[in-house]
Symmetry: C2
Subunit: 428 residues, 2 copies
């Protein structure tokens, strides 16, 4: 006999009554398993161990003993024939949304309103297994490259990115802010370990309400010393992404297949200078240049299309952003001080990373702050490292949700965030 008894557990994802038996889909931590339930062949017990006479319900949590039977028509090539079911919990109410279809037949709004439950859908949860695998890959790569993982404070006395886009709160009578990035701290830590990274939350009080913005997101931040130029940061990021993508299949092949993920090639990602990018897009797509110092979302998409057609790459590093649009710690190009030694990484039409070389001498940093009308006294502990001595260094921050969304070609970054925060949404 091609049969054996196995023990498993999970939730009853779906029940379909047939004549004389039911198809029952068991949702385990990893997959959906087809079970054929014939009432007379299966003992069923209640949570307190007594025989269960009623019907089974969807979303009951159960333990099961079952025969594993070959079944070529099932997705896995086998199915289970339960012989003993112990109900562990009985739902109080039916699900408010149908989650057991391939997709959830509801708006993004409804999906997010019911996030604790809609994440039980197999496609929804596949997104975050893949995100977990990306984080594992990034982390593993950075550790191999001798980066130390750090945990820096999110309650801060001064924002790193400046501007009004910062959350404020009362901290025992003092004004505090939520960190917009670990920028100052990761730079400080370069003086300690040379290479550091942090994967953690950052907070932006931006009033944007777009498919690309979140007000709290997970930032993959790294910072490294003793660099010769910002291009080293780009190559480090390229290798990090390549490593993570190459590792995905070993961790979550089923999820990649389910979502039909197109894993991009990551090899010698092309570089293009910011002004060159603006001009080429304007010329190729007959668009007037409106905003001189920044790429708008449409330009990011067109640039990726152009680069894709010319090089086959789905990534592009846009370099030498205008000094006017970069923060006060960005290092300027010696030959052309109106641009910085900085870059963004675009992936499938969207900016997913910002990075660059930082000013490391006290004189230069002080001069730039004064030129911008900033009061150095507010940045005393940050400037400590410039006074005391820092190596040439730089780093980058990648938005984990944005990267995930582009990898999976999701139409909204919220779909790549477990519990997104936007200007309208603070729950669940």
């Amino acid at each position: 006999m091609n049969e054996k008894i196995i023990k498993t557990h999970g939730s009853i994802h779906r029940i379909r009554k047939m004549s004389g038996f039911s198809f029952l889909i068991l949702r385990t931590a990893h997959r959906l398993i087809q079970c054929v339930l014939e009432p007379e062949k299966c003992e069923i017990f209640s949570p307190d161990g007594r025989p269960w006479k009623e019907a089974l319900k969807e979303e009951m949590c159960i333990r099961m003993e079952a025969l594993e039977v070959a079944e070529p028509r099932s997705r896995t090539g086998w199915e289970l024939h339960p012989v003993r079911i112990r109900i562990l919990s009985v739902p109080a109410e039916a699900m408010p949304v149908v989650i057991h279809g391939k997709e959830i037949p509801a708006s993004l709004e409804t999906i997010l309103d019911n996030r604790p439950l809609t994440l039980r859908n197999e496609r929804e949860r596949a997104v975050f297994r893949i995100q977990d695998a990306l984080v594992r890959g990034f982390t593993e790569f950075l550790q191999q490259q001798d980066f130390v993982q750090v945990h820096t404070p999110k309650l801060v006395s001064q924002g790193a990115e400046g501007g009004a886009n910062i959350f404020r709160l009362d901290y025992f009578g003092k004004e505090a802010y939520l960190a917009q990035s670990p920028q100052f701290y990761k730079q400080m830590m370069v003086g300690v370990y040379e290479r550091v990274f942090e994967i953690g939350p950052v907070f932006r009080a931006e009033k944007h309400d777009t498919a690309r913005h979140l007000n709290e997101y997970t930032s993959v931040d790294l910072e490294m010393g003793y660099i010769e130029g910002f291009e080293e940061l780009c190559r480090m990021e390229e290798a990090m992404i390549r490593h993570a993508l190459e590792g995905l299949k070993a961790i979550c092949k089923e999820e990649l297949d389910l979502l039909q993920v197109r894993i991009p090639r990551v090899e010698a990602i092309p570089f293009i200078r910011f002004h060159e990018a603006k001009e080429q897009v304007a010329k190729r797509y007959h668009r007037p240049i409106r905003e001189k110092d920044d790429l708008d979302p449409e330009e990011e998409k067109l640039l990726c299309r152009l680069i894709g057609e010319e090089t086959g790459s789905e990534f592009v590093f846009v370099t030498h952003y205008p000094t006017a649009k970069r923060p006060f710690y960005a290092m300027e190009d010696e030959k052309e001080p109106q641009v910085t030694k900085s870059f963004d990484l675009l992936f499938r039409g969207l900016e997913v990373t910002t990075g660059g070389q930082r000013i490391h001498t006290y004189a230069d940093q002080l001069a730039k702050m004064k030129a911008r009308g900033m009061d150095p006294a507010h940045f005393e502990s940050y400037l400590m490292i410039h006074k005391a001595g820092m190596p040439p260094h730089g780093g980058l921050g990648m938005g984990l949700e944005r990267f995930t969304a582009r990898l999976l070609e999701l139409d909204n970054v919220r779909r790549a965030c477990l519990f997104p925060r936007d200007i309208h949404r603070l729950i669940p």
Copy 2:
């Protein structure tokens, strides 16, 4: 010849002038290296590539080519004789604190005020290499045990731990809070993946000013479904700690040696019931029981002493905490509802973990909330999971800084936090 030319880089940690030469200590990312600098045998260049005529300074960042020479009297068994030094950056000011001694000769207050620099001290930075290695070990173990790493929001609409100890802020016109723990979210995710973990910041607006409290700390949180009892959580934590401690030597042996870390044995950690613990401590140490429902810091220390003497273990699980002192989601013992299926882990005299089994049925959770005078309407998205169906589950949260502090036998938890936040301190 027992000599070879190597290339390296780092900061000049210390210079000691002798007659005709200098001892120079190079601080690299990993260690201090003794160098013997003989001016006539070494070319020195400025940051812009010109010959450097002045003296070298501490905290200069340099690249170096040097002969590696056997030297039995040095800590490593060898030393470097530089032949070429390229200065990369010149400090603007001398260090405000002496960091190149074995310990920093300053108060904790001064050490923390100058944290960006005092972390460059070899003992200070060793602490956080060990902390990084712990996080690697915990993470690796949990991934092996099929836990999915999640990133849950820190901006929330409702506190999980209740009480007044919560930071509030304005979120686009709504009142928001900083998460006291990922409690609700990790429970929600048990319905999705069965096992999840998160290592991230949590925020407590507690007014305590003690050596054990931080107002922002890093919590190692895990939550798992399909448990038979809370003891499974304890055994999971025990195995996680054992795995991480066993892995330390491979990652940071030099740091362990430097700090003379006593790695504890982690085997069959003993259990003691809360009331039993209270009574035994009172009896053995002739202390009256003042607070019936909690252990005070002195009792935690004495209990660890008692358990250590009786069993040799430096850890102890204290179980069955009084229901009155545990949150509304804690599951009560069926036979003795005045106590919960919960535990704390004490390590070398300090509570480092709180955990327990959670209520998983809607009826029970609703009843308990109502009995406590809570309004279930405020917890709608949390209760969604109880309504829809949840397996028996539980979890725990470990304070990373507390665990590190006890492992390294540091007298203050602030010493195990890169940039601590307390009621007086928001900078650096």
